[in-house]
Symmetry: C2
Subunit: 127 residues, 2 copies
DNA sequence: GCGCCAATACGAAAAGGTTCGTTGACTTAC
DNA sequence: GTAAGTCAACGAACCTTTTCGTATTGGCGC
């Protein structure tokens, strides 16, 4: 599998919509985005075309409304992004990242115990 | 304190040098960067000027070699970046972030126990 | 068939990021 | 004091990202 480029901010916003909604037409993406931030229809279209060129999304050229879909599953893209931040800003230190993540905002009890569970599972898996 | 803009990739690379070395001249930053990636002297200079305009660095206009310094401590900038990624890619889910961080590459036993310690300290602090 | 509508394609323009060549100013070594 | 070297300033060139106006297409209702 060829390595996909890191999505830009605007591209990521569109990917988020695709991950949440599943395959969507330009109009659907456009409407979803406009719930939070107004953007022109053609702007969204242009991005989807660019992302298609880059391979970030696939498209089904259905007549009268192409249907776009994220190429990578959400988790995979997230992994790339975390990895990237880890290298660029944390010299690879995972604990540094977790530390700053926690001090950047309140975490709920549920989140903490979820993280603990992840750690347990991880150790079991690695061992 | 005015909010500082998010550093770009190239800017972050320079900040990393400043954090590691402390206050430095353009030449020192340039040399440090060239250990990993060759860049023209004037390119580095230009970035430091831009970053100075943006307020990312302060400078001491010593005669014959201005001395630049990161405005934010490393941890503070890291926190902003994590926060940003959290919002842009993880819908704010901290556990999602930790999960992908762990699956993105091997973590050592030391790192894991360090993370556990961070969790413990955090809970104590919050309670 | 003809005009209307929703959609795509195209391309230009604005904004931001990145790189570097050139210039002029000052320092030190001779 | 002159040449050689180091430095900051400036601005041009280039690339990528972001935004959108305009043109074009193709089906549908009449």
């Amino acid at each position: 599998m060829a390595k996909l480029p890191k999505p830009t901010d605007a591209e990521l916003a569109i990917l988020r919509v695709l991950w949440q909604r599943g395959p969507s037409t330009v109009r659907q993406v456009h409407d979803a985005l406009n719930a939070t931030k107004k953007t022109g229809y053609t702007t969204v279209l242009k991005f989807l075309q660019i992302m298609h060129e880059k391979g970030l999304v696939t498209r089904d050229e259905a007549p009268y409304a192409h249907v776009y879909q994220a190429r990578q599953p959400r988790e995979e893209a997230q992994r790339t992004l975390v990895q990237d931040l880890l290298n660029r800003a944390f010299e690879g230190s995972m604990s540094g990242l977790v530390l700053q993540a926690l001090s950047s905002r309140k975490a709920s009890k549920e989140e903490l115990s979820q993280i603990r569970k992840i750690l347990r599972d991880y150790e079991r898996g690695v061992k």
